[in-house]
């Protein structure tokens, strides 16, 4: 059961989409005015009579990630019994390709008795200038000639290059979700997964999600990964207040799934990219993605070389070297010969290093005390104690139980703890 929770709990009906009432009214009013739709749906949702809405040739849903743009379109199609023809950013969207897919979809009759077809161009602001050449113009042409509803989504449609698109569509803004709503959804998921989640923990996840429900759900799934059934505020604090795992989770996924060197490299330009964190997380997750030792060692080799640049930068402050380090750490780790096919959902674990360091703090303190004591009394360095003396002591302690007792007395550490150090 590797189904991501964002899929598992995606709302199926219009009513279940949370906190976007205004957008729902606009979208439904538009559909009901211009296309065939079930009567009870229209009675309930089509409440707007603005001319601007009723005349629009297409709808462009705009808003930050994870507020429900795509979900809303899926739910709409289901409510009105239309077949959804969807093209998203991971598809190639050149002019030819768009016309081919949409054209074919609209020509072919529906097999399953749908009432009609609805076209969704997802993430139109992600249209690639080179790769998707002519894509934007093609979409406009399709909209102008279309007899079926066309809906688009975008994070930021206000780039001047989307001006023509805005001119012929109705732009509907979806707002960031309130903290309350996010907490509410998280609470429902916890219950349904049989997990006990502290209210404050959910609030903390919601807060750092900044209204991005998808991110919040992904976070929750990460925290409850491996069958854990409780979530406390401490769990969240241990991993870091500002919730780096959300952006880290997405950043890692993008790096590993990048199709080209440049796509992976460009992730470092993202404002939420924190390269120090990235190194720790990449170190942790390379074996999750590259399971075979051959590819794994190539990935580690590249990250290791990147780290040598980081070392040099830290020593000499030659910051102009940073691009080399990042190219190796992102593009170099992403693009590897014989790279395996990646599953749709990869479980990236938290860096165990942080947890181990936190858990072993006491043990380390005891060890340091022992090492310091031996170094002082034997006139040798601490590193010599750790690499040589400790082993001699361990061998001696095996045949003389008094040794541990004496150390225990001298250091004020109990004997059992001393034994674990040897």
């Amino acid at each position: 059961m590797a189904l991501p929770w964002v899929e598992k709990y995606r709302p199926k009906s219009f009513a279940d989409v949370v906190d976007q009432e205004e957008a729902k009214y606009v979208l439904a009013s538009w559909i009901c005015a211009r296309f065939r739709a079930p009567k009870d749906f229209c009675t309930r949702w089509a409440k707007k009579k603005d001319k601007e809405i009723l005349d629009a040739r297409a709808v462009l849903l705009a808003g930050p990630p994870g507020v429900g743009k795509t979900t809303l379109v899926h739910a709409l199609a289901r409510e009105i019994g239309y077949e959804l023809i969807e093209l998203n950013a991971s598809d190639v969207r050149t002019a030819e390709r768009l016309k081919e897919v949409v054209g074919r979809g609209l020509r072919e009759g529906s097999l399953f008795g749908y009432g009609g077809k609805i076209v969704l161009f997802d993430e139109v602001d992600g249209l690639h200038v080179k790769e998707d050449a002519g894509g934007l113009e093609a979409i406009i042409e399709i909209i102008e000639n279309s007899k079926v509803p066309i809906v688009m989504t975008a994070n930021n449609p206000y780039d001047p290059r989307f001006r023509p698109l805005r001119d012929i569509s109705l732009v509907v803004n979806l707002k960031r979700l309130s903290e309350e709503e996010v907490v509410e959804v998280l609470r429902r998921i916890c219950t349904s997964e049989g997990a006990k989640c502290e209210e404050e923990a959910l609030r903390s996840i919601a807060k750092s999600s900044l209204g991005d429900l998808r991110a919040a759900i992904n976070d929750l799934q990460m925290y409850l990964s491996g069958g854990r059934k409780t979530l406390t505020v401490d769990d969240i604090k241990r991993v870091g207040e500002r919730n780096p795992q959300l952006s880290m989770f997405e950043i890692l996924d993008r790096v590993y799934r990048a199709r080209w060197f440049d796509e992976a490299r460009a992730i470092s330009f993202n404002p939420s990219f924190d390269w120090e964190q990235y190194f720790i997380w990449a170190t942790e997750t390379i074996p999750v993605v590259y399971k075979e030792v051959e590819t794994m060692s190539v990935a580690y080799d590249r990250l290791s070389k990147a780290d040598m640049f980081i070392g040099r930068i830290k020593r000499t402050q030659e910051w102009e070297l940073l691009p080399y380090a990042l190219e190796l750490a992102l593009g170099g780790v992403s693009q590897i010969k014989n790279k395996p096919r990646l599953p749709p959902f990869i479980k990236y674990g938290f860096p165990q290093r942080l947890l181990i360091l936190a858990k072993s703090r006491e043990a380390r303190k005891r060890r340091d005390a022992l090492v310091e004591y031996l170094a002082q009394n034997l006139h040798v360095s601490r590193s010599y104690v750790k690499s040589e003396i400790i082993y001699v002591l361990g061998a001696l302690a095996k045949s003389d139980s008094k040794i541990v007792e004496r150390l225990s007395k001298a250091l004020g550490i109990n004997a059992i703890d001393i034994k674990t150090l040897l």
Binding site: F279, I280, T283, I286, P287, V293, E294, M296, S297, Y300, D301, L303, S304, K305, D307, M308, I310, G311, R312, K314, Q352, R353, I356, L357, S360, A363, R364, R367, D368, V371, Y373, A375, N377, L378, H379, V380, S381, R382, S383, K386, S387, E388, I389, Y391, V392, A395, L396, K398, S399, D400, I403, R406, L407, A410, L421
Partner: protein, 329 residues
């Protein structure tokens, strides 16, 4: 507690107990007699008596007050030259106790300092020359900068000759009521390569299990004081179990505090013994040298060692798939 370890218990306290190094002793005695001396630089391999001689000198100079007048520092342990400067400054603030007109700073592993740090050290030595003398201890004189060498009286320490080591080991065995066989002495000398501290440790571990120490007892002692946990890690990686190796690595790094370079050294020593093809051994030797360099250059030891482990896994996997060279011939 110190006498728990025989190398400490039988560490010479006065010049007469030191069994060799006659010329060094003669010159140091002269310093004690005249009550004045320059800075000193003792260099030579581990276990050849550098620390012992520095401590003997301190006792001979200050008698019962030697501790008050001596500051022991280890360049690899202190965090940077600034920490060393502060500690020397604090120490030199007070006048020496007893008859000698200066205090003593013993700085071990001085050759592990960068040349910039050594330049700073030189200034520190000059700044406090009024009432302190430095004894610098090093494995390699070539890694000490010239301006420091020219300010010091330099003494070379060589590995203990076989006859003197045997004499000393017999003396310890007799005092501890242990029967020490000749074949045991031969093996201890061979394994320790003239490192007296290592030799005494071997003797002590061997004696811990039986009162008669022969070559067999020494051989099993050698395996007992090997870093077994680090070697286990090496084998896990070679067998391709990188997940388990990673878990082990983290335990050794973060709980036991083993430094990156110590993994490389242990692997390197173990490599000779491994039942591997010589071509594979050569490849691993090259890898170890490479990762040693990466550790000095990089900033994240765990990452560098994970590269080492995964690469060992890949080498091990290929070695298992390739028939041994005897069949290829």
């Amino acid at each position: 507690m110190a006498e728990l370890f025989w190398f400490e218990k039988y560490r010479p306290r006065v010049f007469d107990e030191v069994v060799d190094l006659e010329e060094v002793k003669a010159r140091l005695r002269e310093f004690v007699r005249s009550g004045n001396m320059p800075h000193l630089l003792f260099y030579g391999p581990p276990g050849t008596g550098k620390t012992t001689m520095a401590l003997v000198l301190a006792r001979e100079l200050y008698g019962e007050y030697w501790r008050e007048n001596t500051l022991e520092l280890n360049a690899s342990d202190e965090r940077g030259i600034n920490v060393i400067r502060e500690r020397v400054k604090e120490f030199a603030r007070t006048a020496p106790v007893g008859k000698a007109p200066f205090k003593l700073v013993i700085l071990d592993e001085a050759d592990n300092m960068t040349s910039d740090a050594q330049q700073a050290l030189r200034r520190i030595m000059e700044m406090y020359a009024q009432n302190t003398r430095f004894i610098l201890l090093a494995n390699y004189v070539s890694r000490i900068i010239d301006p420091i060498i020219s300010r010091c009286a330099v003494f070379r320490f060589s590995p203990m000759p076989r006859g003197l080591m045997a004499e000393r080991l017999r003396h310890i065995a007799k005092s501890e009521g242990i029967e020490l066989r000749d074949d045991a002495i031969d093996l201890i000398y061979e394994v320790s390569e003239g490192d007296m501290r290592k030799a005494i440790n071997l003797l002590q571990v061997a004696a811990a299990t039986s009162n008669v120490v022969d070559a067999n007892a020494v051989a099993s002692a050698t395996t007992m004081i090997r870093p077994a946990d680090v070697i286990e890690l090496f084998n896990l990686a070679l067998n391709g179990d990188v997940a388990k190796a990673r878990e082990k690595l983290r335990e050794l790094m973060y709980v036991k505090g083993i430094a990156g370079i110590d993994f490389i050294r242990a692997f390197q020593r173990e490599l000779i013994r491994m039942p591997l093809d010589d071509e594979v051994k050569a490849e691993i030797a090259e890898l170890l040298a490479d990762v040693d360099y990466r550790l000095t250059q990089g900033s994240d030891e765990e990452l560098q060692l994970l590269y080492l482990l995964s690469k060992l896994g890949a080498i091990g996997k290929r070695a298992r798939q390739t028939p041994p060279p005897s069949k290829r011939r």
